[in-house]
């Protein structure tokens, strides 16, 4: 509400500096931009600026610790297209980002439906089962690193004890094994997020509708599809898109478990960009180009998400 009628200004013959500021601050647009400025300054300096700087760096051969670098046009991007490790990285990222999602969604949905039932210690269990998503991923990945250890893995020990295998499984020893292991750890980490989001959505399902459908003779599966699913559909779509974006742009789990190995065969965009740009060769330009190859996919996913959120709001 603006409380600076023109009369007030006219009445006062000479406004003091203080009063003038006060009147000015009563205008909503002025105040709005003032309030937003701290946030926008941080976002412009540390998000927008590096984004455009990244595009520039990706067009140069800049190295870590050296100033400048020569403009090389699209050379970094072209070289990457012919790089077999990068090609593998693209495939891995799509497997990692997209194949894990249906598992996380189905397991999360199932867990949410279970946690929505009434049983003793429900709140304790609900809190405890969210832990994989809460704790630092780098640290929980260390637990997985040991669970996958070639010598000390308890999985191998158990399977040997049961007589199912002869020698230890090399969980991280080959590309196929390592990718499956990475995906399992990612599913472990992501399932609680889906569960909790869907569980919140389930609270909005009208109970009377369920009862009415039950009286009409619908069994629980029919009721799920007719009554529950339409209500939680929006949440499922949005959660899924978020999860794809986050997994696609992941870093820590792969960094801790395989560092992209064995033989650079399990990199995803994030870890390969780190290795090219910071860790190994220090080729900042190349690393920035690897990161930016993610951009088209992220842009498409973000556009879909934004459109969907808009349509839900309308």
């Amino acid at each position: 509400m603006t409380t600076a009628p023109a009369g007030a200004v006219a009445r006062t013959v000479s406004l003091t500096w203080r009063e003038r500021v006060r009147h000015w601050l009563d205008s909503e647009p002025v105040l709005a931009y003032l309030f937003m400025s701290p946030g926008w300054i941080i976002l412009l300096l540390f998000m927008s600026y590096p984004f455009f700087l990244g595009i520039w760096i990706s067009l140069t051969d800049r190295m870590v610790g050296l100033p400048g670098g020569e403009f090389v046009g699209l050379r970094n991007y072209r070289e990457l297209l012919h790089d077999s490790v990068f090609r593998l990285t693209v495939v891995n990222t799509f497997i990692y980002g997209f194949v894990t999602v249906p598992f996380k969604l189905l397991l999360g949905l199932l867990l949410a439906l279970l946690l929505n039932q009434v049983f003793p210690l429900r709140n304790v269990l609900r809190a405890a089962l969210l832990l994989p998503w809460i704790v630092p991923t780098a640290l929980s990945s260390l637990a997985w690193l040991m669970l996958y250890d070639a010598v000390l893995s308890p999985f191998s020990w158990l399977l040997k004890d049961w007589g199912l295998i002869e020698s230890n499984i090399a969980f991280l020893g080959s590309r196929t094994n390592a990718i499956i292991s990475l995906c399992v750890a990612n599913i472990w980490r992501g399932t609680p997020f889906f569960a909790v989001a869907i569980l919140a959505g389930l609270q909005a399902v009208p109970q009377e509708l369920h009862e009415a459908a039950a009286i009409e003779g619908a069994n629980s599966v029919q009721r799920f599809f007719a009554v529950t699913l339409p209500v939680i559909k929006g949440i499922i779509v949005i959660t899924t898109l978020f999860s794809i974006i986050w997994t696609f742009a992941d870093f820590q789990l792969v960094y801790v478990l395989t560092k992209g190995g064995p033989a650079n065969s399990t990199h995803i965009f994030g870890t390969f960009a780190w290795q090219e740009g910071i860790g190994g060769a220090g080729k900042l330009g190349m690393g920035a180009a690897v990161s930016l190859y993610m951009f088209p996919v992220l842009a498409v996913l973000s556009a879909i998400l934004l459109r969907y959120v808009r349509s839900q709001e309308a």
Binding site: T3, E28, A32, Y33, F35, M36, G39, W40, I42, L43, L45, F46, M47, Y49, P50, F51, L53, G54, I57, L110, L114, L125, A127, A128, L129, L130, L131, P132, V135, P136, L139, S140, L142, A143, M146, W157, D161, V196, A197, A200, G201, I238, T239, I245, W246, Q252, F269, G270, A273, W274, I278, L284, G287, A288, S291, L298, L301, S302, L306, E313
Partner: protein
């Protein structure tokens, strides 16, 4: 007979799957805990069942505090977490208030931009951002993280708080202002207290995300004594191929406790905040 039928149904369709989920989701934590307490002699013995703890020792925890920089990492993590949370929360309350309660040109555009900023992942920015951090002379200082973490905290927190501020009727502050309160008094005394659950959610969210962050901490503050717990544990306790599993798991336990505790106390705020953000957008 109906009763026992119901019970077996519940066993099969509720308790059994719940038990499987519990094992799947909590087993890594169980493993973390028992390894952190297991004497080295047992830990490396592949003959005995690794899943049970027959003797326990605190030697790994002692090692962590006397032979590594863990206490320093914990201090670094705390400084960065509280700093980044403070910066983010302050900017987000103001941003959320502006977006949620003021009518102004460009308001919708600003809201959309904030939403899109939330979708930009650190892996897209960390290489050029390392150059920006170095250019501003922030490399390997706390400010490197205190100022960069807000880039992924502010968008979420502002979006969340915008939602909270919007639900509070405008008449409330208009009445207060008619009664003689200034706009800032109305905001501070009336609106902010009503939005407190949202502020709390945003705060817990910022706290956990800052505490858990890895990539920026690794690249901008990853050398010498300036490591955070996740970075220090991953890079200093794994030397070449010698894995000090006991101290590693002890560090993983201790590094997870603060967020687990923060979250246990505020699980309902956290969940409502999480879904408000993730679900309403």
């Amino acid at each position: 007979m109906v009763g026992s039928n119901r019970l077996s149904n519940r066993l099969l369709f509720l308790y059994l799957p719940l038990a499987l989920f519990t094992i799947f989701l909590l087993f890594p934590f169980y493993w973390m805990l028992i390894i952190s307490l297991k004497p080295n002699s047992l830990l490396l013995n592949t003959k005995v069942n690794p899943l049970i703890l027959t003797h326990f020792t605190l030697e790994h925890y002692r090692y962590l505090f006397t032979n590594t920089d863990f206490p320093r990492w914990a201090w670094n993590t705390a400084v960065v977490t509280f700093g980044a949370t403070f910066v983010s929360l302050t900017s987000s309350i103001l941003m959320g208030y502006a977006l949620g309660r003021f009518r102004f040109r460009g308001g919708n555009l600003a809201g959309t931009a904030i939403f899109l900023a939330y979708l930009i992942p650190p892996t897209l920015l960390f290489i050029p951002l390392s150059q920006v951090v170095a250019r501003f002379g922030l490399y390997n200082t706390y400010w490197a993280l205190i100022l960069t973490y807000p880039t992924f905290l502010i968008p979420f927190a502002s979006w969340l708080l915008m939602g909270y501020f919007r639900t509070i009727p405008r008449e409330l502050e208009e009445c207060a202002m008619i009664d003689g309160a200034s706009r800032f008094q109305a905001m501070w005394r009336i609106i902010l207290p009503l939005a407190l659950p949202g502020v709390l959610s945003a705060g817990i969210f910022s706290f956990t995300l800052s505490w858990n962050e890895f990539l920026y901490a690794l690249v901008f503050m990853g050398s010498g004594e300036m490591k955070t717990i996740p970075v220090g544990t991953v890079s200093d306790l794994i030397r070449a191929d010698v894995f000090q599993w006991g101290p590693l798991m002890a560090a993983a336990m201790l590094g997870s406790v603060p967020v687990a505790v923060a979250y246990m106390f505020f699980v309902d705020q956290y969940v409502s905040g999480l879904t408000a953000g993730a679900v309403k957008g």
